[in-house]
C-alpha cells in the first residue's frame, strides 16, 4: 500500500504553540491512500493537537498541509469533512436520550430523512461488520456500540481519511478484533486511517507506518511490524524502561471483604451493581477488569463510601462499614482514588494544598476542633509533590493547571501517602505517560508490599496482568470469581469481560 509515491495527506513543518508549551514543533509526515498510519507518543506528546489541526479544530501557527496535492487549511471541522477528512474522538459526543439515527443526523451537514438515514445506517453497518440498530437509544448502548455510532457517522460521509483517537480504550479484546477487521476493510478500499494510540501491540498488529512524537517533535518514523514493542516504547519515551519489580511474599489477614453487594446506580444511564462479592488480603493486589460502563464507577463509589449500603456488605479489617460515609471509612483505613481526576478526585479551581486537604484531612490529622492546620496541609501537599515527582511550579497552583499525568500522580500520591490498610483505585494510569504510569504502578506494588490490600479497577489489561495477584472482571454490574492472574490467557480474560458483547456475528469470516 505504501511506497507507490502517491500521497493523500502531506504535513510539512506544522507548528502550534500555547502559552508556556509548544504542542507541535515542525512536524512533518505523509499518509498514502489506504495506509494505516500510527501516531505514537506519550500523553502530552502533541498527538491530539496535531490531529485537531488536521481536522480543522485548531489553527496551526506555522507549516502547511496538502490533501491530494492541493493546499489544505481547514478553518473548521465542517470544511475538513467536506474534503473527506473524518474523525472519531476518544470521548464520544452523543446524546444519550436520542436514538442512534438521530445522533448520526446531528453530526451531518445535510442529513437525509430519518427513514432514508436509518436504512443507510443499516446498509453501512452490514457492509463493515458493525451491527447497529438505528432505532435504539444511545443511553442503552455499550461503550463499544457507542463507538460504532461515531464510526458509522463518519463512514456515511464517505471519508478519504479517517482519524481515530485512542479507539480501543473502551473495547474488550474481542471487540478490538472486530474493529480491526473493519479498519482493514476500509484500508483495502483505499481509505487512509490515522490511528492515535499508545498501545504498542495494537499498532504493531494494525499499522503500516508509524510516526513517533515526543514533546511535540517527530523523533522517529518506522514500520511498526519490524520493531518490538519495547523498541517502540523506548523511542516514545526516550529512555530505557524498567518493568515494576515484585517480590513474592506471604499474604496477611483479609483486610477488605465485600459480600452480596447490590447497589442501584445513582445515574440514569449507569450500571447497577449486582451481588458483588470478593475479598482482598493484606499484601495482595486484586485487579478488576472490564469495559468502561460496566459498573466500575459504581463499585468505586460503593467502596469509597460516597454511596452507602447495608453495614455488613462491606467489611474493613473485619468491621462492618457499608453504612459509613467516606470519612468514617478513611478512619477505618480505606483510601480511594476515583477515575475522574478533575471534578471528582480533585477540585479543578482549588490549589494543590487545598486538594491535599480534600481527602487527607482525616488520616493526616490536618483539622483540629474544626480549624484547618494550613501549615501541616502545605507540608503534606509538599510531601506528595516531592514523593511522587509531581511536576508543578508550586503547591499554590490550581489543580486544573496540571497536566493529566501530573495530576494523577498527585491524586494517587495523596491517597497512598496516608498509610492506608486498604487502597481502591479506579483507572490509576488512564491518560498518563509511560514513565509516570510505571511510577504509579510501582507505588501500588510498594504499598501492597508494606501490607496494604489493594484493589485496582482498570481497563488496561496489560497493567492488570503486570501488577495484580488475582484477577476478576466486571460485566454488566456483575463480578466474576477472582482467579490467580498467573497463567491467565488473553482469551480467558476476554471471556470474563463478557466476550464481544453479542458482536460475534459481526464478521462472517470468524474461524
Amino acid at each position: 500500500m505504501t511506497g507507490t509515491g502517491e500521497v493523500l495527506l502531506r504535513v510539512v513543518g506544522l507548528t502550534k504553540a500555547y502559552p508556556g508549551v509548544v504542542a507541535n514543533s515542525d512536524v512533518s509526515f505523509a499518509v498514502a491512500p489506504g495506509e494505516v498510519h500510527a501516531l505514537l507518543g506519550e500523553n502530552g506528546a502533541g498527538k491530539s493537537t496535531l490531529v485537531k489541526m488536521i481536522y480543522g479544530l485548531v489553527k496551526p501557527d506555522g507549516g502547511t498541509m496538502t490533501l491530494r496535492g492541493a493546499a489544505y487549511a481547514p478553518s473548521k471541522p465542517g470544511v475538513a469533512r467536506q474534503q473527506g477528512v473524518a474523525m472519531v474522538f476518544q470521548h464520544f459526543s452523543l446524546f444519550e436520550a436520542l436514538n442512534v439515527a438521530e445522533n448520526v443526523a446531528l453530526g451531518m451537514q445535510n442529513p437525509p430523512g430519518m427513514r432514508t438515514l436509518a436504512s443507510r445506517i443499516r446498509q453501512v453497518s452490514q457492509d463493515y461488520g458493525l451491527p447497529l440498530d438505528p432505532d435504539r437509544l444511545v443511553g442503552d448502548l455499550s461503550a463499544g456500540e457507542r463507538q460504532r455510532v461515531e464510526i458509522i457517522r463518519c463512514l456515511l460521509q464517505d471519508p478519504k481519511l479517517l482519524i481515530m483517537d485512542e479507539p480501543t480504550s473502551v473495547l474488550t479484546p474481542q471487540e478490538v478484533d472486530i474493529l480491526f477487521q473493519t479498519l482493514r476493510q476500509l484500508s483495502a478500499e483505499g481509505t487512509a486511517i490515522l490511528y492515535i494510540s499508545h498501545k504498542l501491540e495494537e499498532i504493531r498488529a494494525l499499522c503500516d507506518a508509524a510516526t513517533i512524537l515526543r514533546r511535540g517533535k517527530v523523533v522517529a518514523t518506522c514500520t511498526p511490524r519490524e520493531k518490538s514493542a519495547r523498541d517502540l516504547a523506548e523511542m516514545m519515551v526516550g529512555e530505557t524502561l524498567t518493568p515494576p519489580a515484585r517480590s513474592a511474599k506471604a499474604k496477611g489477614a483479609v483486610a477488605l471483604e465485600v459480600s452480596g453487594l447490590s447497589v442501584p446506580s445513582p445515574n440514569p444511564f449507569g450500571t447497577s451493581l449486582k451481588n458483588i462479592g470478593f475479598s482482598v488480603q493484606k499484601g495482595e493486589i486484586l485487579g478488576i477488569a472490564g469495559v468502561a460502563g460496566n459498573g466500575q464507577d459504581e463499585l468505586l463509589l460503593a467502596l469509597s463510601g460516597e454511596v452507602r449500603t447495608a453495614r455488613d456488605r462491606i467489611r474493613i479489617n473485619g468491621a462492618g462499614c457499608g453504612d459509613a460515609g467516606p470519612n468514617e471509612r478513611r478512619r477505618a483505613g480505606l483510601v480511594a482514588a476515583p477515575e475522574e481526576r478533575l471534578g471528582h478526585a480533585a477540585a479543578p479551581d482549588m490549589s494543590l494544598t487545598e486538594n491535599a486537604l480534600l481527602s487527607g484531612a482525616v488520616r493526616k490529622g490536618l483539622v483540629s476542633r474544626g480549624f484547618i492546620d494550613w501549615a501541616a496541609t502545605r507540608d503534606f501537599a509538599g510531601q506528595i509533590v516531592e514523593g511522587f515527582d509531581v511536576r508543578t511550579p508550586g503547591i499554590w497552583v490550581a489543580a486544573r493547571a496540571l497536566s493529566g499525568g501530573n495530576l494523577q500522580k498527585f491524586v494517587v500520591g495523596r491517597e497512598l501517602s496516608q498509610a492506608p490498610t486498604v487502597v481502591v483505585v479506579n483507572q490509576p494510569t488512564w491518560g498518563v505517560d509511560a514513565s509516570a504510569a510505571a511510577a504509579i504502578r510501582q507505588a501500588l506494588i510498594d504499598r501492597a508490599a508494606e501490607g496494604a490490600a489493594v484493589v485496582v479497577i482498570s481497563q488496561d489489561l496489560d497493567e492488570l496482568l503486570e501488577i495484580t495477584d488475582r484477577f476478576a472482571a466486571l460485566n454488566g454490574g456483575r463480578l466474576t470469581e477472582p482467579r490467580p492472574t498467573q497463567g491467565l490467557t488473553v482469551d480467558e480474560i476476554g471471556l470474563m469481560m463478557g466476550g464481544a458483547h453479542g458482536m460475534e456475528v459481526a464478521h462472517h469470516v470468524h474461524p
Binding site: 489553527k59 478553518s75 469509597s304 479543578p348 482549588m350 482525616v362 490550581a398
Partner: protein
C-alpha cells in the same frame, strides 16, 4: 480582534482589581449618560460619590446614612454569600428579613411596657429565629422533596409581605395609634430601642453585627473546615461528596445561617432606623443584598466594601436627584451599569485578553 485565553491558574491580581476597574468604567459610561442628559458629568459623579461624604452642607446628614444603609446590606449579603458559594441559592432574604422583624418585634411587644434589660437580647434571638424558620421551609423542602430552593424562597417573600401587612393592620397594631396601621414605635421605647451608638456615625447594633459577621465569615472561609466544605461543594460537588461532605446538611446549614442573618437585619432595622412594623416596612434590602454579595465576589471583605459602595450610590443618587434634577431612572441605570461592568470584567480573573490578528486561511 480580541482573543480570550483561559489562564491556567486564576489571577489573584485581577480578582482584586476587577471591582475597581468596574467602578471606573461605570463612572465613564455613567458620565457619558449624564452628559447626554445635559448635566455636567463631573458634577454628577462628584454629587454621587463625593458630596455625601465630604460636602460641608450634606455630609452631616448623609454620612451616618452610609452605615445605616450599608449595615443591613452587608449583614444579609454575608449570609447569602455562604450559600451562593456552596451553590445554594437563597433568593428570599427579603422574606426572612421581614419575618425577623415580625418575630423580634412581637417578642418585645409581648412585654410592653416592661423595662427588663433582657428583653432586647430576647428580641435579637427571636429576630434571628424568625429569619431562620422562614429559610428552613425551602431548605427542608429541598432536602426532603428536591424542590427548587430558588422558587420556594422567592415565593415566600410574597407570603412574608402579606403577613407583614396583616401584622401591621391586626395583631401588632398599636392600640394607641388611633386606628392607623403600624405597631408601637420600638425605637422610642427604651427597652427595645436600637439607638445610634456613637453620635453622628450611624453606627447601631445592626452595623456592629454586620462587622462581626464579616470577620466571622472570613475566619470560617479561610480557616475552618466547614468553610472549606462550603467552597468545595460550590466548585466541585462530586469532589465534595468524595471528601465526605453531606450535601443536605450543607443546605440546611447555609440556608439557616443566611436566614438568621437576614432576620437579624430585619430586627435591627425595625428597632432602629425604621422604628415600627408598618405595611411598607421592607425596602428591598433582601434583594439588593444579592447584588452586594456578587459585587463583593462572595468574599467577606469584598462584601463589606460593596455594601458601602452600594449604600453610597443610593445616598448619592438621591442627592443627585434632589440637587441636579437627575431623573431617578438615570440613577437606577447608573446602578445597573455598575453591576453590568462588574459581571463583564469578571472574566479577567480567569481569562486574559490577547490582541490577535486573523490569519489568512
Amino acid at each position: 480582534m480580541f482573543i480570550l485565553e483561559k489562564r491556567p491558574t486564576p489571577s489573584r491580581f485581577w480578582m482584586a482589581a476587577t471591582p475597581v476597574l468596574a467602578v471606573i468604567l461605570t463612572m465613564i459610561a455613567g458620565g457619558l449618560m449624564f452628559a447626554i442628559l445635559g448635566k455636567d458629568p463631573f458634577e454628577a459623579i462628584r454629587t454621587i460619590f463625593w458630596d455625601p461624604l465630604f460636602d460641608p452642607q450634606f455630609a452631616s446628614y448623609s454620612r451616618p446614612q452610609l452605615l445605616v444603609k450599608a449595615g443591613p446590606l452587608i449583614l444579609i449579603a454575608i449570609g447569602l454569600s455562604l450559600g451562593f458559594r456552596a451553590g445554594i441559592w437563597n433568593i428570599g432574604a427579603e422574606g426572612q428579613y421581614i419575618m425577623g422583624a415580625i418575630f423580634g418585634a412581637a417578642a418585645g411587644l409581648a412585654f410592653y411596657p416592661s423595662e427588663n434589660r433582657l428583653i432586647f437580647p430576647l428580641m435579637v434571638a427571636a429576630g434571628a429565629f424568625g429569619g431562620w424558620v422562614w429559610a428552613m421551609i425551602p431548605a427542608i423542602l429541598r432536602t426532603r422533596f428536591r424542590t427548587n430552593e430558588i422558587l420556594v424562597s422567592l415565593l415566600l417573600v410574597y407570603v412574608a409581605q402579606s403577613l407583614l401587612a396583616s401584622m401591621a393592620l391586626g395583631a401588632l397594631r398599636s392600640p394607641e395609634g388611633g386606628g392607623f396601621p403600624g405597631s408601637r414605635n420600638l425605637s422610642q421605647w427604651a427597652t427595645s430601642a436600637n439607638p445610634e451608638l456613637i453620635g453622628g456615625t450611624g453606627m447601631h447594633w445592626g452595623v456592629v453585627a454586620a462587622f462581626i459577621a464579616v470577620i466571622a465569615s472570613y475566619i470560617l472561609l479561610q480557616r475552618h473546615i466547614l468553610g472549606f466544605q462550603i467552597r468545595l461543594a460550590g466548585e466541585a460537588p462530586r469532589a465534595a461528596r468524595f471528601a465526605g461532605v453531606n450535601p443536605n446538611r450543607l443546605v440546611v446549614l447555609c440556608m439557616g445561617i443566611s436566614g438568621a442573618l437576614a432576620g437579624l437585619a430585619g430586627l435591627f432595622e425595625v428597632t432602629g432606623p425604621a422604628g415600627q412594623i408598618s405595611i411598607d416596612f421592607n425596602s428591598g434590602y433582601g434583594f439588593t443584598a444579592i447584588i452586594v454579595a456578587f459585587l463583593g465576589r462572595l468574599n467577606p471583605i469584598g462584601i463589606l466594601l460593596a455594601g458601602l459602595l452600594m449604600a453610597l450610590t443610593y445616598i448619592g443618587g438621591e442627592l443627585a436627584q434632589f440637587m441636579l434634577g437627575l431623573p431617578s431612572a438615570a440613577i437606577q441605570a447608573f446602578q445597573g451599569m455598575l453591576l453590568f461592568f462588574l459581571l463583564a470584567v469578571d472574566m479577567l480573573g480567569n481569562y486574559r485578553i490577547r490582541l490577535g490578528f486573523g490569519r489568512a486561511a
